[in-house]
């Protein structure tokens, strides 16, 4: 042992004498550097020495500008290698660059000179003038993403796009998913520039900013103008009662217009509202979609290159196994599939695989609102699709723990990402128990936080995972009976059934849905107590706070209970679907400020470094604003480096945040439609933001 150790030391010494990192030729160092994508690492690298600084800058291809708009003329000049430039986050967020009091021609020149190689651009285009300014500076742009959450200025149809198309003839990819415009804006612009339309290979009009869906004639106009599309994402209307709804003819024409499609997402506009749905309804909508199985088969035949397909129809498509059985042969490259409101995807009635289970090459499968999916169907699918790494079920009321456990067990070698949501028989505890076979390998998980136990039906008895001793855990007026649950849980452990503690060894990302007013504390007890690698968590709160009395005791949602996850550093806390009163609560009703205190209480105990926070909103007045308790609580997060509030806040309250010494990056992002215009918003003033940021930037940062 000792001699071995000496030998190693001797080797190390000789190795050190011979080769040093600085001896590596620049060309190789360059290649090494260009593989590093993490921004913080890169910034650290560039501080080592001048040579490394130059090398790092020469290999830096991605940059997001985050300064204040009036400082734009002071752009650093060392980033000349940047090909992917993001201008959409310049402060104040959502400002209109040409409308500010800058010399715009000088600015355009500066941008052009500082970033000569830009090929991919993301920009907040409040109105067409910014594009008229920037597009000529970078005529070789290939990929453009436009962002706009503000109201559309009253210009002629398509003028935003015309400004772009006129100068950028090499455009191949256009992303409008966060760009508010009318559906009538795009088709005429594409028709006016047929050569650009013909060279577009990626078009994303799956719009999160509005609930408008593209009408069928618009979709057809777009796809016939762009026959070389490889990737197409769009919101549409499948409800046949609406004029312009998408049905058989449209889908087929769309497929024949763009035969090269490898990625197709068609999502019904009502699905974009992101409401969870009711687990208790029967799963069938009142109306059927006008989509037939024969047409689906023909559509699949017309798209042989398809690799990823999303058909999120919000109206019943029945007997879909007929078409799905053909999918594997018609679309041999298909790896990812998501279907919404498709019934009969897999009957699973006998040993033969049917429906989706025949798509053996699938790696990602998401089934939403399939009313007749049973446990046998699930088992059939997991046997038929052995390569699945990602599996999602949402709104499937017939599946139970039995089926899900089998899925996890059969696919335990491949499954790394799972989502279970709004399934009547799968509450949090049962979902986690069902996933026990993949506890060691699961990396990303979404579950709903439903604490009431469903009485497990007898048919559910599996070999080892007997129905645990939890009976209906009662929740009385928000006060969780923790002691009861804990006792019974411990009792279960000592019984020796199933698992001892639940360690989710590889879980990195956890996403939760929880109803407004419910507590978070039971999460660890439900089976997620040990997640050593968990770094990132997303919590979505949904519900109506107006008719519940604001929580007074306990007045703590339970964020501090997440301390049990030692590596947790990033959080998205999304309360925008928690609706309440901002200032106008009728007498006897509470407003949102005690709710914000409820949700944020204890956040300082978590050592978060990054937080995205969506405040609860008052939909009547379109107000999502920080209240005093929120500002006070956020200001106590002593390790916060990046904080983004997706709403508004007044200057008085923003000042609280200056107490957070480590805070480097803060922005108010009103990324909801309609984003408040400066004058009309609750507390948004350009000067306020600028003053705050100046104050923020003036402080010395300890680390």
């Amino acid at each position: 042992m000792v001699s071995d150790h000496e030998q190693v030391e001797e080797m190390a010494r000789s190795f050190n004498r011979k080769v040093h990192f600085h001896d590596i030729p620049d060309a190789i160092l360059s290649s090494i550097f260009s593989l590093i994508t993490d921004t913080r690492s890169r910034n650290a690298m560039s501080l080592v020495c001048l040579k490394w600084h130059l090398l790092e800058r020469s290999t830096r291809t991605f940059l997001s500008l985050r300064g204040n708009i009036r400082d734009l003329v002071l752009l650093p000049t060392c980033f000349r290698a940047v090909t992917n430039l993001d201008l959409s986050l310049i402060s104040p967020w959502g400002c209109s660059i040409p409308d500010s009091s800058l010399n715009t021609t000088v600015l355009a020149q500066v941008l052009h000179w500082t970033f000569p190689s830009v090929v991919t651009l993301t920009v907040y285009a409040r109105n067409p003038s910014i594009l008229r300014l920037l597009a000529p500076q970078w005529p070789y742009l290939r990929q453009v993403k436009l962002v706009r959450w503000h109201q559309r200025s009253s210009t002629t149809l398509g003028s935003d796009f015309v400004a772009l198309f006129e100068h950028c003839h090499s455009l191949a990819s256009l992303d409008l998913s966060h760009f508010y415009n009318w559906t009538e804006d795009l088709p005429p612009a594409l028709e006016a520039y047929p050569s650009i339309a013909a060279s577009l290979s990626h078009l994303n009009i799956l719009n999160y900013t509005s609930a408008q869906g593209f009408k069928s004639h618009e979709l057809l106009a777009i796809t016939s103008a762009c026959p070389n599309l490889r990737e197409f994402l769009a919101t549409c209307i499948f409800d046949h009662r609406y004029i312009g709804s998408v049905g058989d003819e449209t889908l087929l024409s769309l497929a024949t217009n763009c035969p090269r499609l490898s990625l197709l997402h068609l999502v019904d506009s009502s699905s974009m509202s992101a409401a969870r749905g009711d687990p208790d309804n029967d799963g069938y909508t009142t109306e059927d979609a006008r989509i037939s199985q024969n047409m689906l088969i023909e559509m699949f035949s017309a798209l042989p290159l398809l690799e990823e397909l999303v058909l999120d129809v919000c109206h019943n498509v029945r007997d879909t196994w007929i078409a799905l059985e053909m999918l594997n042969s018609k679309c041999p490259r298909l790896k990812s599939l998501k279907l919404g409101q498709f019934h009969g995807v897999c009957k699973g009635i006998d040993a033969r695989p049917d429906g989706i289970a025949l798509c053996s090459r699938l790696e990602s499968l998401s089934i939403k609102n399939c009313a007749d999916l049973t446990d046998s169907g699930l088992i059939s699918i997991s046997l038929g699709c052995p390569r699945l790494t990602k599996f999602e079920v949402q709104g499937c009321k017939k599946i139970t723990k039995l089926g899900l456990t089998k899925v996890a067990s059969i696919l335990r070698k491949t499954l790394t990402e799972v989502k279970i949501s709004c399934c009547k028989h799968l509450n949090t505890v049962t979902s986690l128990q069902a996933l026990e076979p993949i506890q060691d390998s699961l990396q990303r998980l979404h579950i709903d936080c439903v604490w009431e136990m469903v009485e497990q039906s007898v048919s559910e008895a599996t070999s080892s995972a007997k129905s645990p001793g939890f009976k209906c855990s009662e929740k009385r007026r928000g006060i969780w009976e923790e002691t009861n649950l804990k006792k019974k849980y411990k009792k279960y452990n000592f019984n020796g059934d199933g698992y001892a503690s639940s360690t989710w060894a590889k879980l990195q990302y956890l996403s939760l849905w929880i109803e407004a007013g419910e507590l978070l504390n039971p999460l660890a007890l439900a089976g997620l107590d040990d997640c050593p690698m968990l770094e990132e968590i997303q919590i979505k709160v949904e519900g109506d706070c107006r008719h519940q009395s604001s929580p007074s005791s306990p007045d703590d949602f339970g964020l501090s209970s997440l301390r049990c996850y030692p590596r947790l550093s990033k959080m998205n806390l999304d309360c925008q679907t928690a609706i309440g009163y901002a200032l106008t609560a009728p007498s006897g009703h509470g407003d949102l400020s005690p709710w914000e205190r409820f949700y944020l209480n204890g956040i300082e105990k978590l050592n978060l470094t990054e937080l995205n926070y969506w405040p609860p909103q008052d939909i009547d007045v379109n107000r999502r604003s920080l209240t005093l308790p929120a500002a006070g609580l956020l200001a106590q997060c002593r390790t916060m480096r990046k904080l983004f509030v997706h709403g508004t806040a007044s200057e008085h309250l923003l000042r609280f945040l200056l107490e957070v010494q480590t805070l480097r990056d803060f922005q108010l992002r009103e990324d909801y439609y309609p984003a408040p215009e400066n004058d009309t918003s609750t507390e948004m003033r350009i000067d306020s933001c600028s003053r705050f940021e100046d104050a923020l930037n003036r402080r010395a940062i300890p680390d």
């Binding site: 609560a585 007498s587 007044s650 200057e651 008085h652 009309t680 306020s688």
Partner: protein, 266 residues
């Protein structure tokens, strides 16, 4: 001095028309509270909007604790703004505390105001022997003491905890909007507001007033509207909105706008 105050208090002038219409918000909100009302008036009036110096949207460094001990300082600000803008005659719509400020301003400069429209106004919030202002001295004191006793927590954002469920409705409703400001400013302004008593000078007002009251405003008892009508020196009317709440411009703008319009046209 001129343009400094226009910037500091976020003064905005919108709309086209010959006559000037000033909207003054109450404590705890800012000029954006008038957003839903504005479209009814911008086509016909030059509308002036501004923020009170204590508003959350104004740089807190501008709040001068020595100057703002009583409402006269706010009257100074209002008159400064109007003078800087060159307004010599206007209609004035004031909510809550701004109604009081408007009353004081019209006594100092009666020729400046053609009409005062007062929403949720009260000359004195504390009860007195024969006067029902809505708040008992002891109730208010207990709130202030809670604020001051727990000042650290208050300043760190836990203020509403101090004003919990055991506080009377009236106090709770009124203080709800107060908490949108920096806590030390809130405490200071609350004292200013609750120490104000304009009953004695109401008779000095010669400008005609329209007093708008909601059917149930926990902060302002119905009798106060009558009191104002009877004691304000000029020609006064009372309009009652068939809606509840202290902030009708936020909760029922479509009901409030026609009432204001009628009052402006008379």
């Amino acid at each position: 001095m001129g343009s400094l105050i226009l910037d500091a208090l976020n003064v905005r002038v919108q709309g086209q028309g010959e006559k000037v219409l000033v909207f003054a918000h109450g404590v705890g909100t800012d000029q954006s509270a008038w957003q839903r009302i504005l479209p009814f008036f911008t086509p016909y009036y030059r509308v002036v909007l501004f923020d009170l110096v204590c508003a959350g949207s104004v740089n807190p460094d501008y709040f001068n604790f020595r100057r703002c001990t009583n409402l006269e300082a706010y009257v100074d600000d209002l008159l400064n703004i109007l003078d800087t803008l060159g307004v010599d005659r206007c209609f004035y719509v004031g909510h809550s505390v701004s109604a009081m400020i408007g009353i004081l301003a019209s006594i100092r400069r009666p020729e400046l105001f053609s009409k005062l429209i007062l929403i949720g106004a009260s000359p004195r919030f504390l009860n007195d022997e024969d006067y029902h202002g809505g708040f008992e001295q002891e109730e208010i004191e207990s709130v202030f003491q809670a604020m001051e006793a727990n000042y650290e927590a208050w300043v760190n954002g836990f203020a509403p905890l101090a004003v919990g469920a055991d506080v009377p409705d009236a106090v709770r409703e009124f203080t709800r909007t107060l908490f949108n400001m920096r806590p030390d400013i809130t405490l200071f302004v609350s004292r200013t507001v609750f120490n104000s008593d304009l009953r004695g000078i109401l008779g000095l007002v010669k400008v005609p007033c329209c007093i708008i009251q909601t059917s149930k405003d926990v902060s302002v008892p119905a009798s106060v509207a009558e009191y104002l009508k009877n004691h304000l020196g000029g020609e006064n009317t009372v309009e009652t909105l068939r809606t509840e709440g202290h902030l009708p411009h936020l909760s029922a703008p479509a009901m409030l706008a026609p009432v204001i319009k009628r009052a402006l046209s008379r």
